[in-house]
Every structure is written in structure tokens, then in C-alpha cells.
Symmetry: C2
Subunit: 153 residues, 2 copies
């Protein structure tokens, strides 16, 4: 809401994946300043998908996509597996990861996840889809990811 007042009327936040990864995520991970605070920080594992919208307000009535940063939470302190459970359900990866390109170079990867209500390995599939982006070098970088979440009807 408040960030839109810095941008002239008529401009909407419709980033490309290259911009999301190459500008926003890269700067976030490197603790560099981001021009406008358009992407909020949330703790994805303490919030249900239907509550994310209220946290990521950008003020478009027609909007059904939200952008946020979230730390990746490890399932076990010593392991590399990611915990993607919330109180009401869990995010489960679907399909293959997709490369994000910039001038023919792979700068990041996109993972697509679907939200299930309940507990793995059971649970009921919902229409909530998340795209989780990571830098290509993110194995060696702090565990931080930019994600976009969208409701699909």
C-alpha cells in the first residue's frame, strides 16, 4: 500500500523471474538496499497460505499473487532437508525445478510447491501454489529464498 505511493500512478509490480532472482533475491541475500520495500519478510512456516495476503498488501484489488522473502527452515538441525509444514498443512514440491535465465546464464532455480491441508504423507491438495526461487549459488549462501505465492481458482 504505502510503497505504491512512491511509484507513479499506473505502475504495477509484475516482475519477471529474472528480476525477482537477479535483483530482489540477490540483493536480499547480499544485504544490499532494495529500492522499494515491495517484498516483505514472512516466516512461511508460521503462516497459512490464506493469511499471507494480509501480510503482503500491495494494494491491487485484482491481485491474486503475492511476493515475500522467507528463510528456509531445516527439518533437522544437522540435515539439509527443508521443513515446509505449517500448523494446518504442508507445502509439497511438484514437477521439476526450472532454471531462471539471464542472458542465457542460469542465475537461479524455481521450485513449484502445492499446499496440502493435513499431515504428510496424507493431506488434501488445495489450489494454493507457491514458486520458490533460489540463487544458483544458494547452496553456499545463507538459507534465504524469495518466493511468490499465488491462489489459483
Amino acid at each position: 500500500m504505502e510503497m505504491e505511493s512512491c511509484v507513479p500512478p499506473g505502475f504495477r509490480f509484475h516482475p519477471t523471474e529474472e528480476e525477482l532472482v537477479g535483483y530482489y533475491l540477490k540483493r536480499k541475500i547480499n544485504s544490499l538496499q532494495i529500492d522499494l520495500d515491495v517484498i516483505v519478510d514472512i516466516d512461511l512456516y508460521k503462516i497459512e497460505p490464506w493469511d499471507i495476503q494480509a501480510r503482503c498488501k500491495l494494494g491491487y484489488s485484482e491481485k491474486n499473487e503475492w511476493y515475500f522473502f522467507s528463510h528456509k527452515d531445516k527439518k533437522y538441525p544437522t540435515g539439509t532437508r527443508t521443513n515446509r509444514a505449517t500448523a494446518a498443512g504442508f507445502w509439497k514440491a511438484t514437477g521439476r525445478d526450472k532454471a531462471v535465465l539471464s542472458k542465457n546464464n542460469i542465475i537461479g532455480m524455481r521450485k513449484t510447491l502445492v499446499f496440502y491441508k493435513g499431515r504428510a504423507p496424507n493431506g488434501n491438495k488445495t489450489d494454493w501454489i507457491m514458486h520458490e526461487y533460489r540463487l544458483q549459488t544458494s547452496e553456499h549462501a545463507p538459507p534465504q529464498a524469495s518466493s511468490s505465492i499465488s491462489s489459483i481458482d
Copy 2:
């Protein structure tokens, strides 16, 4: 191109009709400053639709809509009819004018026009569509209009 550099990455110019009329056209007619010079001035009757794109560059490769201001040109010095001919053809209104609303008030009107190659009353219809916006009070205001033009495949 140069205007985009003033807006953070990821923002695109996708104005609503309310913004086009209530902000851009209103300020233009009242000679008020517009935050970013995103809408250029052209003389619509001296330029063919396929040449407009080069004048209205906003730097989106995926873009097939362009925005510009143009003075309305009268067909006869003393009349009220509008001359919408170019060297190669003419713009012809189609359908009914549509109201542009802001908080349930009519703030402007939108006229839809199609470009025909050749000379009226003949000419060959093309896929070029223009939306011409006027303020609701524009009969008493200087003859200036904001228009959006789009190529339809």
C-alpha cells in the same frame, strides 16, 4: 526506456482507465506536472499506427499497447467534427462510447476506433485498435486527448 530507470525493477506501466483519465489526462489538460514522462506527445494524424511504437518506447518486449497524448484536429476550422485521417488511412469510430468511472462518478469517456487503410468511405479495415479518452468536461476544455493504441493479432 529512460523512464523505466526511475521505477524499481519489476514495475510495469499497466494503468487502469481511471488512472489514465483521472491522473494522466486531467493533469495534462491542466498543464500540471506528471511524475514520470511515461506518456509521450504525438501528432496522431501525421503518424501511421505502425510507426507509433517507435515513438512510445517503454521498453517492454512483450508489450503490444502504447500510450500517447494527441491534440484533436478539427476537420474544418469552424466545425466540431474531428479529422482522424493520416497519409495512409483513417481512424473510424466503432461501437458506443463507454464511461470511465471513479468512485461511481463519470470522469471521462472512451471512444474505440479502428484503423482503415485507404480513403473514406472506402478503405480496408486493419487490426489496429485505438482507445481515445476524453475528460467528461472536455467539451469546454482545450482539445487534448489521451489515447491508448494497441495492435491486435
